[in-house]
C-alpha cells in the first residue's frame, strides 16, 4: 500500500485542474430532450478536442488510458470544478463503448468507438421490458433470423435517453426453447431504423428522462450482433458489472462532494429557535458526521476494489456491494437534506434543479441499473456463497 501521490501525479492534477477550471461549462445543464443532448455532446466534444475523452478507455481504442490513480485525480478535480454530469453520454462512454471494446468485432470498434468519444453519437440501453425488470433474463422481445438480418418485434421500457439516442444496446430473445439465460442475443440497434417507435415517459421529478421503445418488424443486420447469437447474456453481464464497478467512481466522488455541500448548507440554514443554524442541532450534526464517515468508507472500498481490478482485469461481484451502499448513502444524504431544508422543500418548482429535485431523483440509484434488493441477492449468492433463493 502506498497512498502518496508522486510528483508526476501532482503535476497531472494541476494540469487537469487548470484545464477543467478554464473549460467546464458554466451554464446550467438542461434537464431533458434535444437541449440536453446538445449540451452534453458539446461538452464531450470539447473534452475530446483537448485529449480528455474516454479517460477509462485504453489508448488503443482512442481513450486516454489513464491509470486508476489518474482517473481518481481526474474525477476529484472534475467534481471540484463543478463540471456537469456525463448525462446522455453515459451509456456510450460507460456501457456501450466498453462492451464493444471487450466483446465487439473490429468493425464495430472502428465504426462506433470514435463517434462515441467525439460526442457524435448517443447510446441507450434497451434491457428492461414491461414484464422483465429484476428478472431481466425473462425478456421476451423477439429476434427472428431472416437471412442476414434479425427481425425484431416487442417492447422495451425505462430506456433512459432513448428519445435522443442514435444507437441502442438491445437484448432480444433469439431462442425461446432453451433455458432463459441461454437464448438471448446482444445486438446494436440503430434507432433510426423503420419500425422503431419511441415514446417518452415523464418521471415524478417532472422530466422526460426515459422512454418506451416499440419494435415492429425492425430489420437489424446480423453484423450488428455483439458476441454470439444466443450468447448475449454474458455480454450483458460484462456491461452491467462495468456499471456496478469502475464507472461508479465519478458518482461517488460527486456524492462525497454533495456531503460537503450539505454540511455547508447546514451551516447557513436557520433551524428552529432564532439565530440557530441547522448544524447547531446535535442530531443533524451527528447524522452528517456519520454520513461523511460512511461515504469515506465506501470510497476507500471502491479504491481498493479498483486496485484489485487493475491487477485481475475484470470488475468483481463486490461491485454489487458498492452499488447497494451507494444507493443507501444517496438516500441518507437526501433524508438529511430534507431535514435541513425543512419548508423550502415545499417551494420546489418543477423544472428546478437543486436539493428538492435531487431528493426526488434519489430513487434512481436504488432502482435504475438493478434494484437494491437484487444487489442484496447477488451479494448473498455470489459474494457470500449462500444458496440462491430466486
Amino acid at each position: 500500500m502506498n497512498l502518496d501521490f508522486t510528483v508526476d501525479e501532482q503535476r497531472f492534477r494541476e494540469e487537469v485542474r487548470d484545464w477543467l477550471q478554464d473549460n467546464a461549462p458554466r451554464d446550467p445543464q438542461p434537464l431533458e430532450g434535444a437541449e440536453k443532448r446538445a449540451y452534453d455532446v458539446a461538452w464531450q466534444r470539447k473534452q475530446f478536442d483537448a485529449g480528455w475523452a474516454g479517460i477509462n478507455w485504453p489508448k488503443a481504442f482512442g481513450g486516454c488510458g489513464m491509470s486508476t490513480t489518474q482517473q481518481l485525480i481526474w474525477h476529484e478535480e472534475y467534481a471540484k470544478a463543478n463540471a456537469p454530469d456525463v448525462g446522455s453520454c453515459f451509456v456510450g462512454l460507460n456501457h456501450g463503448g466498453p462492451t464493444l471494446i471487450a466483446r465487439g468485432s473490429e468493425a464495430h470498434q472502428a465504426f462506433h468507438l470514435p463517434k462515441i468519444l467525439r460526442g457524435e453519437t448517443i447510446w441507450c440501453q434497451g434491457f428492461s421490458e414491461p414484464s422483465s425488470g429484476s428478472d431481466l433474463a425473462s425478456l421476451r422481445t423477439r429476434g427472428v433470423l431472416d437471412g442476414d438480418h434479425l427481425v425484431v418485434n416487442g417492447q422495451k421500457i425505462w430506456t433512459s435517453y432513448a428519445h435522443v439516442a442514435d444507437y441502442q444496446e438491445l437484448l432480444v430473445r433469439t431462442d425461446p426453447d432453451v433455458k432463459k439465460h441461454k437464448g438471448i442475443t446482444w445486438i446494436i440497434c440503430d434507432m433510426s431504423l423503420p419500425g422503431v417507435e419511441v415514446r417518452p415517459i415523464r418521471t415524478m421529478s417532472g422530466e422526460r428522462h426515459f422512454c418506451e421503445v416499440f419494435y415492429d418488424d425492425v430489420r437489424i443486420p446480423l453484423d450488428n450482433v455483439v458476441g454470439e447469437i444466443n450468447g448475449g447474456w454474458s455480454v450483458a453481464m460484462s456491461t452491467l458489472s462495468f456499471e456496478r464497478g469502475t464507472a461508479f467512481m465519478s458518482r461517488q466522488i460527486a456524492l462525497a462532494r454533495k456531503v460537503e455541500e450539505l454540511i455547508e448548507l447546514a451551516r447557513k440554514t436557520p433551524k428552529g429557535a432564532m439565530g440557530r443554524m441547522a448544524i447547531d442541532d446535535d442530531e443533524i450534526a451527528r447524522k452528517l458526521a456519520r454520513l461523511r464517515a460512511n461515504v469515506a468508507a465506501l470510497q476507500a472500498m471502491t479504491y481498493a476494489a479498483i486496485s484489485r481490478n487493475e491487477r485481475t482485469g475484470m470488475p468483481g461481484p463486490e461491485g454489487s456491494m458498492i452499488k447497494l451502499s451507494f444507493a443507501d448513502l444517496s438516500q441518507d444524504l437526501q433524508r438529511i437534506a430534507a431535514e435541513i431544508l425543512g419548508p423550502s422543500m415545499l417551494e420546489y418548482e418543477y423544472g428546478d434543479t437543486g436539493w428538492t429535485h435531487d431528493y426526488l431523483r434519489s430513487y434512481l440509484a436504488s432502482i435504475g441499473g438493478g434494484t437494491s434488493e437484487i444487489q442484496k441477492e447477488i451479494i448473498a449468492d455470489r459474494v457470500l456463497g449462500m444458496p440462491k433463493g430466486r
Binding site: I201, K271, E339, P343, L346, E347, Y359, R390
Partner: protein
Amino acid sequence: MDFDLSEEQNMLQDTVRRFFETEAPTTRLLEIYDGDELLDRELWNRSAELGLAGLLVEEQYGGVGLELLDLAVVADAMGYTAAPGPLLGHALTTLALTLGGSEEQKTQWLPKLASGELIGSVAFAEQGDAWQPDQWTLTVSENRVSGTKKNVLFPSDADLFLVGIEGGRMALVERSAEGVSTQEWDGVDRTRRIGGLSLDRAPCELLTGDSSIAERVRDAALILLAADAYGGAHKSVELTVDYTSQRVQFGRTLSHFQGVKHQIADAAAEVEPARALVWYAAYAFDHRPEEAPRLAAIAKAHLTERYVDASRTMVMLHGGIGYTWEFHCQFWLKRAMFDRSYFGSPSVHRERAAVLAGW
C-alpha cells in the same frame, strides 16, 4: 374507557373516503398535477355541501359543531385519498375565529365560512423555518399590517387570511382589500397549492384572543397534519401490498419474496401503532388541553416521518413505474413531503416536545 372511534366517526371516515375516491380519483389528481388550475371550486363546493367546511363551526353559526377528533378523522380520510383542496387552512381559520373571535367577528365571518361560500387560509410562516407564534414578526398599527408570509395555502383562491402577528396575535385580512397581493408558487404537492402573501399597509382586524389561542390553532394544525400523514401512510402500505400481490417476476408475484414482504411488514409495523397517537392527541386537544401541545408536537413529528418512510418504501417496491409521473405513487410521496415540512420539520417539533416535557 373506550379507546376507539365511535360508530359515527367510522361512518364519517367512510363517507369522506368514498366522497374523494369518487370525486377526485387518481385520474383527476393527475389532471390537477398536469394542469395550471389552482382550486377545483366545484369539488370544494361539493365537499362543503357534505358539511366539511363547517365541521368545527358551532351550530348557531351554521356549522356542524363537531370536535377536533372528528376533523382528524376527516383529515385521515383525506390523507388516505390524497384529497386536493384548501380544507386545512380553512378549518384552522374557523377554529381561530371560534376560539378567539369577538361575537361580532364570529357573526360576520363564520356563517359564510361554514357554508363554504368563503374560503379561509392561514398565513403563519415567515422566512426560515419560522412557523411558531413566538416567531411571528409582523406588526399592526392603526389597524393596518405590512410584511410577507410564506407557504399560504391556495393564496389566490382564499377570501380571508388568518395572519400571524407579533406576540402570537392573529388578524383577519381580506384578499380583496387594498395593499394585499398574493403569489402562486408551483409547489411540490400540487393537490395543496401554496404561495406567498404580501401585505402593504393592508387593513386588518385583530382577533381578541391572546397568544394562547394561536398556540391552540398551531396544535390543531399539527394534529391534522399527523392525521393526514397516518391516512397517507396507511394507504401507501395498502397500495404496496396490492401491487406486489399482482406483479410477477421470477415466475411468481413479488409478494412471495421475503425481501419484499419484510419491507412491507416493517412499514406496517411502524405506521399502525402510530395511529393511536393521532387520536390521543386529538382527544387531548378536545378534553385535556394541558397535555395537547406536547402530544400534538409528538404526533406531527412521528407520523409525518413514518409517512415519508412508508411512501418511499412504496415507490421503491414498485420499481420503475413507481418513479413515473403518470402512475399514482407520486401523489402520496409528495403529500408526505408536504406533511413533513408544513408547519415545521419533525426535528423542530421533537425539540419542542422535549422542552414541553421539561427536559
